[in-house]
């Protein structure tokens, strides 16, 4: 009979023996040697029946297909744009993926996306060598204008969005800002300047306290106590 040596929702670090015996199954972030299941990265343990999974707490973003991310154009190629996606690898936005309209040969590509523009894109393909292709054809995918960018850890993104988007809509309601969260940990905020600052502070607070429970209430309190009035507000 197998034995569990670490409790559910506890922090494990590389080399920690999580379970002994063959009736548990190692999943993401764990491996088996002999009878033992051992953690191989710093993470939060999440036991799902017999399957031992982990939720990573730190690490850079690794591009994954179908992720919606926010990238920054840093180079313009012959037929596309190269983007920094807050990862070890850069992404390429190809010409045919950039617009529904036909782009003439030799057209000025900066008219579509200039260097240092931030763009919401979706990953269409990732190769084994981590060459990343992205597209802006799709709902919500576009170039971002005005506003500001906050960078958070990619593993905190689910916390910032919250269950069914509860956390992000709390911030949106309280500040009246438009917010787009990229899976790569790049967040775009746009609204009244004072409200933007408040929203950014709230996002940073989530990033720092993401492993606490009852975070949504904590953030609600934070937003209430730091409320700022702007001209657009009705009394």
């Amino acid at each position: 009979m197998g034995k569990l040596l670490v409790k559910d929702k506890e922090i494990v670090v590389p080399g920690d023996v999580i379970a002994e015996g063959m009736d548990f199954l190692p999943s993401f972030g764990t491996y088996r040697t002999g009878e033992k299941i051992i953690a191989n990265r710093t993470s939060l343990l999440s036991i799902d029946g017999k399957v031992i999974k982990t939720i990573p707490l730190a690490g850079r973003y690794l591009p994954k297909r179908n992720d919606v991310i926010i990238g920054r154009v840093f180079d313009i190629l012959m037929s596309g744009w190269r983007m920094d996606i807050n990862s070890a690898y850069s992404a390429v936005l190809m010409l045919q993926e950039a617009s529904f309209k036909y782009i003439q040969k030799g057209a000025d590509l900066t008219k579509f996306f200039a260097i240092d523009d931030y763009v919401v894109v979706k990953i269409t393909n990732v190769t084994s060598q981590r060459l990343v292709d992205v597209t802006v054809k799709g709902p919500g995918l576009r170039r971002l204008e005005a506003g500001r960018i906050v960078k958070v850890s990619t593993h905190k993104v689910p916390r910032i969005i919250g269950k069914q988007g509860s956390m992000v809509s709390t911030i949106k309601d309280a500040t009246g800002c438009r917010i787009t969260v990229g899976q790569n940990g790049v967040v775009w905020v746009q609204g009244e300047p004072e409200q933007e600052v408040l929203a950014v502070n709230a996002i940073k607070k989530i990033d720092e306290n993401s492993h606490h429970s009852g975070l949504t209430d904590e953030i609600k309190k934070f937003l209430d106590s730091n409320k700022v009035k702007t001209k657009g507000d009705k009394k």
């Binding site: 191989n40 707490l57 070890a88 492993h211």
Partner: protein, 231 residues
């Protein structure tokens, strides 16, 4: 004359007091601090990130690049000449070799994980402290690794086999042998073993046997430091 009592009154199989911390450098993806006696090491990990120069790209796996550096004021009085030198290049290389067996680099082809080890104060055993700090930093950065790497020195002073030499012992008048050891605690694989001086085969075996439980204990301290960060 035999070496009967240690200069600082420790037992022969006892290390100097150890202190470990994770997440000490906010800007880094992961960081660690390891202090053993008067030797302290900071390690910062950046990456995986894009690798330059491109000539070093490896399409099969990523690169682990280590950089060991003693700060100019870190010695005991004499200024250490800053910048890379023959010694620090060698230690950077052995640190990389000591950490490579645990780190999984297959997931990041053409990329690099950079490890910077800085020593603000040294009193012997600096490469071991550096490896311990780097191991904490790598785990803190969320890098996939099969286990931690623990490291400490063992050796011989006079005719006594002992653990964790400090500088006064390393430069003892009766002659000393310094053997830095790094080990993967779960499998007892040794990833670093260097030797300076004369020692018999039996004494070397005795020293290695003596150092193993100590290394396992150090690995526990490293783990505790990582968990402490999320308390």
């Amino acid at each position: 004359m035999s070496y009967t009592k240690r200069n600082d009154g420790r037992k022969f199989e006892e290390t100097r007091p150890i202190e470990a911390k994770a997440g000490v450098i906010k800007n880094a993806d992961g960081s660690g601090f390891f202090k053993i006696g008067k030797t302290s090491a900071y390690a910062a990990v950046y990456g995986p990130k894009e690798l330059f120069p491109r000539s070093q790209h490896n399409p099969r796996k990523g690169l682990l690049r280590c950089n060991y550096n003693m700060m100019p004021f870190s010695g005991s009085g004499d200024r250490v000449r800053p910048g890379p030198n023959r010694r620090s290049k060698e230690i950077s290389l052995v640190t990389q070799k000591a950490l490579l067996p645990v780190v999984n680099l297959e997931g990041f082809p053409n990329a690099v994980i950079e490890v910077f080890i800085e020593l603000p104060q040294t009193d012997a055993g600096s490469r071991c402290a550096g490896i311990c700090a780097a191991s904490i930093a790598l785990a803190d950065a969320g890098i996939t690794m099969k286990d931690m790497v623990a490291s400490v020195s063992c050796g011989k002073v006079g005719d006594k086999v002992l653990i964790d030499l400090d500088y006064s012992e390393e430069s003892h008048e009766d002659g000393a042998v310094d053997i830095p050891v790094a080990m993967i605690p779960s499998t007892e694989e040794i990833t670093l073993l260097q030797l300076d001086g004369f020692i018999t085969k039996d004494e070397l075996k005795k020293a290695i046997q003596m150092v193993k439980p100590v290394l396992k204990n150090i690995a526990e301290i490293q783990r505790k430091a990582l968990k402490e960060k999320y308390k």
